[in-house]
């Protein structure tokens, strides 16, 4: 079994692949794929190890999904990309596909996609054709749950963080930048909000059932009842079947706070997670705090956090790391990777203790995903 890692980097101007050496110390870069396209996510299917899906659009052209069955050597476009049902003028239109998640291991051709405006789509044929998940997209509460186009992220509210329960294909969590976390237990037919305990400083009702701004939600693969969430208003953990989130970000240093976009978990140890704090003060600069980048790790499910910044610039480094731009790999010790909006890729091969820059001069990075590189 190889310990080599391949990174799929999605950027505002295309996608690049980074192939790590055996030590994960240097990465050979290739690309661009879809040069000039706005690529929000590139994801390898762990069920076959060779199918890649990429979510793309351009400044001019509408959204689509590209598929590769040979790990990116050749690509074909979806014959029916995610799109709302036609209702005529005034109807919703997908602006961009933001998020891609492979389906459950028992459903080898199923994929899920999240879009802006916020909606959920599903493919049953490996990404060639996509259907609207009507149970969510046409739910009587859809408008109330998702808000309008003015809500959410500056370039449009996002449906993201699609987590398929490894124990049950019909149990799925999603996150929305305007709406919060929602859950289905029947494969998408019915949905319920899951936001109790989450602060919503921007809403008049502090105990609102929905309307929250989830930035990134991760169901732990080794302990699926545990979910971590980086929210606009802090870092949270929930232990199902409880329905109330605990703000584990309260244990972060006060001068750092607990705002950020991404959160990633150790693939085997459910107590270990990493965040990349972003400045959430005043007008929300969303950069490394005081220009001093740092990752924070918990090893006790959020009871305490430790700073990890060895190898990072010591000052004047104003990084922004977006919600899908941080990931872990499959190797022991676990590798960590993230990309910045200034086009740098940083890596750690020792669970965050030391960091090195492995690529730079790329466009604005939207997403970084990692996969085992075949030998």
């Amino acid at each position: 079994m190889t310990d080599r890692v391949q990174l799929f980097v999605a950027t505002r101007k295309g996608a690049w692949f980074l192939d790590g050496d055996a030590k994960r110390s240097s990465f050979a870069i290739s690309g661009p794929h879809f040069f000039g396209h706005i690529v929000h996510h590139v994801v390898l299917d762990p069920r076959d190890g060779k199918t890649l899906l990429a979510a793309a659009k351009t400044g001019h052209l509408g959204p689509t999904v590209f598929r590769s069955s040979d790990r990116g050597r050749t690509w074909t476009e979806a014959t029916r990309p995610p799109a709302f049902p036609k209702v005529g003028d005034g109807g919703r239109a997908v602006d961009h596909v933001f998020w891609l998640t492979p389906g459950h291991a028992s459903e080898p051709n199923v994929w899920w996609a999240g879009t802006s405006p916020q909606a959920l789509f599903k493919s049953h044929d490996g990404g060639a054709t996509w259907d609207s998940v009507k149970g969510f997209n046409e739910h009587a509460m859809y408008g109330a749950w998702t808000g309008g186009p003015q809500d959410g992220t500056p370039d449009g509210p996002k449906m993201h963080s699609i987590n398929v329960d490894p124990r049950d294909a019909k149990h799925v969590y999603v996150g929305m930048s305007s709406g919060g976390v929602f859950e289905t237990t029947d494969g998408g037919e019915s949905w319920a909000p899951l936001n109790q305990g989450i602060a919503a400083d921007f809403l008049p009702d502090p105990n609102a059932a929905f309307g929250h701004d989830a930035h990134c939600v991760v169901q732990h693969p080794a302990r699926p009842d545990r979910l971590y969430q980086q929210n606009h208003c802090g870092i949270y953990l929930i232990e199902r079947p409880a329905t109330r989130w605990d703000r584990i970000g309260n244990a972060m240093p006060k001068e750092i706070g607990d705002v950020g976009f991404s959160i990633v978990v150790h693939p085997k140890n459910p107590d270990v997670a990493w965040v990349m704090p972003m400045d959430g003060q005043t007008v929300w600069p969303r950069t490394s705090i005081e220009g001093k980048p740092a990752v924070y790790r918990t090893r006790d499910a959020g009871k305490s956090w430790e700073r990890q910044d060895v190898g990072f610039p010591r000052e004047q480094a104003w990084w922004t790391v977006k919600r899908q731009a941080m990931c872990t790999d499959h190797v022991d010790p676990v590798g960590l990777y993230f990309g910045t909006t200034s086009g740098e890729i940083w890596a750690s091969t020792d669970e965050g203790a030391h960091w090195s820059n492995v690529a730079r001069h790329l466009p604005h990075v939207y997403a970084v995903t990692a996969a085992r590189l075949p030998s």
């Binding site: 400044g59 001019h60 052209l61 689509t64 990309p81 049902p85 036609k86």
Partner: protein, 86 residues
Amino acid sequence: MNVRVPSPLISYTGSRTQVEAEGATLAAVLDDLERRHSGIRFRMIDEQDRIRPHIKLFVGGRLARSLAEPVAATDEVMIVAALSGG
């Protein structure tokens, strides 16, 4: 009729910047274009049949406001990817 294709869409036309399509309305021309160059239509027309924000379609030199625009056999259809760089 002749259809002029901008560079962002030539991946659908085998790199050709001018292709043939037929139809009495812009909608029909685009449907024919889609039959000949699968996938091209959705990149410029959304699922509600609206012309996407940064796409402009000219029929015989006239800016088309909707897909109902009539097209004469002598007209040229010009697809323009309007300013949206950077």
